[in-house]
Symmetry: C2
Subunit: 213 residues, 2 copies
Amino acid sequence: MGFMGAISKDGLNIANKSREIVKNKIKDVLGGKINDFNEEEMGIIERVVHATADPEYAKLLVFKNNPIVEGIKAIKEKKPIIVDVNMIKAGIRYDNVKCFIDHPDVFEIAKKEGITRAVASMRLAKDLIDDGIVVIGNAPTALFEVIRLIKEEDIYPRLVIGVPVGFVQATESKEELRKLNISNISTVGPKGGTPVAVSIINGIIAYAKKGKA
Amino acid sequence: MGFMGAISKDGLNIANKSREIVKNKIKDVLGGKINDFNEEEMGIIERVVHATADPEYAKLLVFKNNPIVEGIKAIKEKKPIIVDVNMIKAGIRYDNVKCFIDHPDVFEIAKKEGITRAVASMRLAKDLIDDGIVVIGNAPTALFEVIRLIKEEDIYPRLVIGVPVGFVQATESKEELRKLNISNISTVGPKGGTPVAVSIINGIIAYAKKGKA
């Protein structure tokens, strides 16, 4: 399969043409700052702009503490990926992806403790998050809970991709994530979402399969 | 469950605060044009801006041929929803959603005929698309195939939500969709994607459950 899962000639032509346009849009947005990113980071930025048709993401993505190399290592070790919503699970090309948002215990915990289902789902996944990969593309509260687990309960994920979307708490949750000493990829401001999350983690999985890092 | 599936007090507070901000952002973007939309359309616009944190969508969404009323009717009749990618299927709160992109026949047809998997998946779904609802959030070629089925093969979907994303063919495919005499919802330009598609169709499903129209 070619870029973005294309198998037909039409599919490949579209993917190649799109890639060309995406590269140029990123150049326009980043200007001289394009040299701030290494080749692997640029590959991830391209995927996100491709998935959203929104070149602004080139300015919004932040890579902290060597996240791509750490992510590739964790994928090669077949570590689990814990996600906040099923849409992300459906988009990731990897066998070991876990989402607890619809787990019966999550409904119970959320109601009883007055927390969001997203928070409850991360709390339930605690043992998998330790030494695993976390991908959050929807709920800021889920990201805050992961940050709390790291700070208060000595949970140490190998990589956190934190790109929750929205005007309430999303910006703040990602700022807190970037202060941590763990490997993370995030966006600045309210933008983010499931296609952003999925394109980042699928990019890292693709690198791992190609034997990068 | 409250707005956006919130069940906890925290979840409801976030959802309500977010809704407030979203409404204001939409007002800023639309100005006087806010009166161009009816209450149900505004509800859909709010969901899309909520899902993307991108208020520009208020200017990009187009409703043609009474799509919300037609969509609600089709949902109440339990018509199937045919989608282009599994991420959309995972996000829709409805029992009868079909996605053929990973169907073995689709790989065969795509390779043999030199078409994209997305096109092959729509061709395979032809009989379900007739009198059903189509939701396309990723592949412009899938939307072009649906348009071809409508024009050349007398297939008549009740509603087409066409919001494929990308810099190649997405804009053009949506322009062609808007020329048709069927009920449709689309975006102007390259932007769109799975969260846009999912929030539109889930909004219509929510209306149908509340007994609107």
